[in-house]
């Protein structure tokens, strides 16, 4: 079931939204306007976008510290995201969460998490709820190659399999956890090789190819909605930028060769997708250019919105601690 034109263009648009959002974030970080930590998603856009394209608004996602791509891919508002990064009251979380904690429950974005792998059990629980409530909502969790080594992943995958939960474990193998190669941290060739240990399908996908990610996810979604349980999808990808903004110390200590970085930059998911969708003639290069131009305007507006949004007031400090 290949995606239709609208969806193909939507995927392109969302990749651009992530890309240009992140470029803007890098800019305002280097100018000093943005002070908090931020982990750019550039290079991995096809993963979140391909995967979320297979979901409905009512489905849930949860993510990690590399946290801007997932909500934008799920359809999250750019202005709220940017305002959150600036700690403004117009942010998704009223400025309380910041970069690593974007969340928008109204469209199933159950939140990014700064503690590596700690949203894996959370997403598993959302899937459990879905089953208990007799709903067909699916839950998807994004986690890295590094995260896969946490016990939380083992425990969650085991429970999800035992209870046939509608959850998709989406591993973004960008090959490094900060500076540590997955070859030195994962004792098998591929994280998806661990799926048989939980009696669930494990799929290895080219994470630079949004359509491939989409198709793999569609299968997993079908399985999950049919009550057949979880799937582990591993997307091979690469982050084009530093682990996080401002972590210059790491840049001085090269853990990735220039050649390797260059090679992967050649596999930029946006041109790959444009090539794929224009080569069939369904979409024209003009369509693509228009998408990009529109997104530039949207991101600029988002930054404008964020800048104009007021900071939270002091009295808000103690608000949002306790639910009524």
């Amino acid at each position: 079931m290949p995606p239709d034109k609208d969806l193909l263009l939507q995927m392109l648009e969302r990749m651009w939204r992530i890309r240009i959002f992140e470029e803007t974030v890098i800019e305002i970080h280097s100018s000093g306007e943005l002070q908090g930590p931020a982990h750019p998603y550039i290079g991995q856009e096809a993963v979140a976008v391909g995967a979320c394209a297979a979901l409905k608004d009512t489905d849930y996602i949860a993510g990690n510290h590399r946290s801007h791509g997932h909500p934008i891919a799920k359809g999250g508002d750019l202005g709220g995201a940017m305002a959150e990064l600036l700690g403004k009251s117009g942010g998704y979380c009223k400025g309380k969460g910041g970069s690593m904690h974007l969340a928008d429950f109204s469209i199933g974005i159950l939140g990014e998490s700064g503690i590596v792998a700690s949203s894996v059990p959370i997403a598993t629980g959302a899937a459990l709820a879905s089953k208990q409530q007799g709903k067909d909502f699916i839950s998807m969790v994004f986690f890295g190659d590094g995260a896969s080594n946490q016990g939380a992943c083992h425990e969650s995958m085991n429970m999800a399999s035992l209870w046939s939960l509608p959850v998709i474990f989406l591993c973004e193998n960008n090959q490094y956890a900060i500076t540590t190669s997955y070859k030195n941290s994962v004792s098998v060739d591929h994280i998806s090789d661990r799926a048989p240990a939980y009696n669930m399908p494990g799929v290895l996908v080219d994470g630079q190819d949004a359509i491939a990610v989409y198709e793999a996810t569609v299968h997993a979604v079908e399985r999950a909605r049919a009550g057949e349980g979880p799937t582990l999808i591993e997307c091979m990808t690469y982050r084009f930028e530093d682990h996080s903004l401002g972590l210059d110390r790491v840049r001085d200590n090269p853990y990735r060769s220039d050649e390797e970085v260059d090679e992967w930059r050649q596999r930029d998911p946006i041109p790959i997708h444009e090539e794929a969708i224009t080569s069939t003639g369904v979409v024209t290069p003009e369509d693509c250019a228009e998408v990009q131009a529109r997104v530039r305007v949207d991101v600029a507006a988002a930054l404008e919105f964020a800048r104009n949004s007021p900071y939270p007031e002091a009295k808000e400090l103690f608000e949002d601690m306790w639910a009524e």
């Binding site: 969340a103 939140g111 059990p121 879905s130 425990e155």
Partner: protein
């Protein structure tokens, strides 16, 4: 009024809440078999979607409970205080923080019930009384029922609360029996004990004793004996540590001028320390004597029946402390 055990009260609260609201469900290890005595028969009534025996994966299933609560479920999780350590990341990083981090979008109606073993050779690995640690962490409500009435009433309130609640079931309290009104005898038709309202266990004029968890029973035993010596103790059971009914404690100390805090947890950075520090700051001018903490010795809990009793507060230690404040 029916007289029942503490665990029967917990079981009754659980069943009533599960009947009332179908989003309430039970999760834990061996709960179908009711290993800790609170869930007998529930699997037969509510089925496998609502009475879930989990694998031995505390971090995983605590997290699953939290995740489910984000989208409308109301899990009750059964465990033992010592196993909290295993699931700590989910409890602190997620349960306690998610709502605030997400600017109030999340509701987290998860109730943990944790057994605290007491004496009888539980040894270091099964003797944690870690409520102070959770009290220290913003975002969690902390509940220490010390009798069947409060156990039932606070448990029901916890299940309905939209925040993560931790109920600590102290071994001493668990062995208590007491009267718990039948629902038909209650005005509202059910027993709900509000959070943040301390119970004045006994009124007195000379010295305030605040008892935490199993410490309340020791305070009561001590007060009876001290009464014979002409010392009148006022005993306060805060019942919930978060929220804490500071005012009842301060008012009492303003009256008595003296404070002893009895807390079976380790003494350092304890709830006893906290209450002491509050009073030393806010009721200082009423104090007529040093504030004395009667808490567990700062040592791991030994197994031997010859050593273990030396760790914990006893009525004798409470008596000594009160006498000291009076001298």
């Amino acid at each position: 009024m029916p007289n029942m055990t503490y665990m029967a009260a917990i079981a009754e609260a659980t069943r009533e809440e599960m009947e009332r609201d179908e989003s309430v469900y039970l999760m834990g290890e061996d709960i179908r078999a009711s290993v800790y005595g609170a869930s007998a028969g529930l699997f037969e009534i509510f089925g496998e979607d609502r009475v879930i025996d989990t694998p031995l994966s505390e971090n995983g299933f605590f997290g699953a409970a939290i995740g489910s609560s984000l989208v409308g479920q109301r899990p009750i999780v059964e465990t033992v205080t010592s196993f909290f350590w295993v699931g700590m990341d989910q409890m602190i990083s997620q349960a306690a923080k998610m709502r605030y981090m997400f600017g109030g979008q999340a509701k987290l109606p998860v109730t943990w019930r944790a057994r605290m073993f007491y004496a009888r050779g539980a040894a270091a690995h099964h003797s944690d009384r870690n409520y102070n640690i959770f009290m220290s962490t913003p975002g969690l409500k902390v509940i220490c029922p010390t009798n069947p009435y409060d156990a039932k009433g606070l448990m029901k309130t916890a299940v309905r609360d939209n925040n993560p609640c931790l109920i600590f079931e102290d071994g001493i309290a668990i062995s208590s029996r007491g009267e718990v009104p039948a629902n038909e005898d209650l005005p509202g038709g059910e027993l709900l004990v509000p959070f943040g309202e301390a119970r004045i266990v006994r009124e007195g004029t000379d010295c305030t004793i605040v008892g935490i968890a199993g410490g309340v029973a020791h305070a009561e035993n001590a007060a009876k004996i001290l009464e014979g010596e002409g010392i009148s103790c006022e005993i306060i059971d805060p019942r919930t540590l978060v929220p804490l009914d500071k005012q009842t404690i301060l008012t009492s100390v303003e009256k008595t001028g003296r404070l002893v805090v009895v807390d079976p947890a380790h003494e350092v950075c304890s709830v006893a320390s906290e209450i002491s520090s509050i009073v030393a700051q806010e009721a200082f001018w009423s104090l007529q004597a040093p504030i004395i903490k009667v808490a567990s010795a700062q040592v791991n809990v030994p197994y031997s029946p010859a050593l273990e009793p030396l760790v914990y507060p006893t009525p004798e230690r409470v008596i000594e402390a009160v006498r000291e404040t009076m001298s």
